[in-house]
Symmetry: C2
Subunit: 162 residues, 2 copies
C-alpha cells in the first residue's frame, strides 16, 4: 500500500431514472453489504465528470449524463475528498458490476437509510432530495472528521490514521 | 518521485482586498518568474477550504476568509484537479512566502495576462472578473488537456506523461 501525503478524489453521482435513484449494495470491503451511490477513485487522464460516469457504469452498468455539482465532502480522517454530481440515466438498463452485490432504483421513501455504507452517501442523498423537493440544484460542502459507521470493525485501519 | 495512479488536488483562491486581487510571482519551477494565484497541493487532514487558505498564507502571507466555489479544472495531462475559491483578505498585510519572488495586489486592468503561470490560472481569473462584473458568484468547470504554456522548456516531464 502506498501511503499518500495528499488526499485522493472519490467521484460519484446520484443517477435518476423516472424519479427513482440508483443505489448499489457493496460486494467488497469496506462496508460490504451496505448501500452506496456509484462512486470510486478518480483515475489519471479523466475529468471529474468522466470519472463519475465511469464509476456509474462499472458499479451499476448504467449509462448516465452527468449534470450539476451536488456535494463536495472533505473526509479528513480517510484522506479523501468526495465529489458528487447529479446525473440522468440515458436508458433504463442497469445491473450489478463486479463490486456490487445488488443494484436497484429507489424512491426517496424506499432508500435504506439505516444501511448506507458511508456518512458522505447519507449527506449526498439528504441534500439531493431536499434540493429536488425545493426545485433547486445547489452544491453543498461538508467536512467529515471521523467515522460514523455502524459497524466500526469494518473500518480499514490504514484509512483512519492521522 | 512517487508515480500516482490518481490525480492530486491543487487548491487555491482569488483573494480580494478593496477591489484588487492577490497575485504571486513564482520563485520555483515550473514556471518560475510567472504569475499565479496562491495555490498548491492539498494535504491530508485538511478540508478544501482549509487547504486554499493555508496556501494563501504560505505563498502570500495573507490571511483570508474563504468564500464561494469559483472553478474546478480537470488538468488531465498533469494528473491534477485544480479547485479555486473566492476569498476575502481579512487584513491588509501580505508579503512573499518562500515559494514567491514577489506578491502584489492587482486591479483587473493591471493583471499581467501574458505572464500567467498556468492556463488554469487564466481560466480562473477570467471567470472571476466576468462574474464580479455581472454581480454573480457561479462555479465553472474546465478541462485542460494539454499545456498551453508560453515557454515549453519549463514543463516538468514527469507531469506531462499519459
Amino acid at each position: 500500500m502506498v501511503h499518500y501525503k495528499n488526499p485522493l478524489l472519490v467521484l460519484g453521482c446520484v443517477a435518476e431514472w423516472q424519479g427513482r435513484i440508483l443505489l448499489c449494495r457493496r460486494a467488497i470491503e469496506p462496508r460490504r453489504g451496505y448501500w452506496t451511490v456509484p462512486a470510486g477513485f478518480m483515475e489519471n487522464g479523466e475529468t471529474l465528470q468522466h470519472a463519475a460516469a465511469r464509476e456509474c457504469y462499472e458499479e451499476a452498468l448504467a449509462e448516465v449524463e452527468i449534470g450539476s455539482l451536488l456535494a463536495l465532502v472533505s473526509v479528513t480522517h480517510a484522506h479523501q475528498v468526495h465529489v458528487m454530481f447529479r446525473a440522468r440515466m440515458t436508458r433504463s438498463e442497469f445491473g450489478a458490476g463486479p463490486e456490487s452485490e445488488a443494484v436497484g432504483l429507489y424512491s426517496e421513501a424506499d432508500v435504506p437509510w439505516a444501511e448506507l455504507a458511508f456518512p458522505s452517501v447519507e449527506f449526498t442523498l439528504r441534500r439531493y432530495f431536499a434540493d429536488r423537493a425545493a426545485g433547486r440544484e445547489d452544491h453543498h460542502f461538508a467536512e467529515l472528521t471521523r467515522p460514523l459507521w455502524h459497524n466500526e470493525k469494518s473500518i480499514p485501519t490504514a484509512k483512519v490514521e492521522g
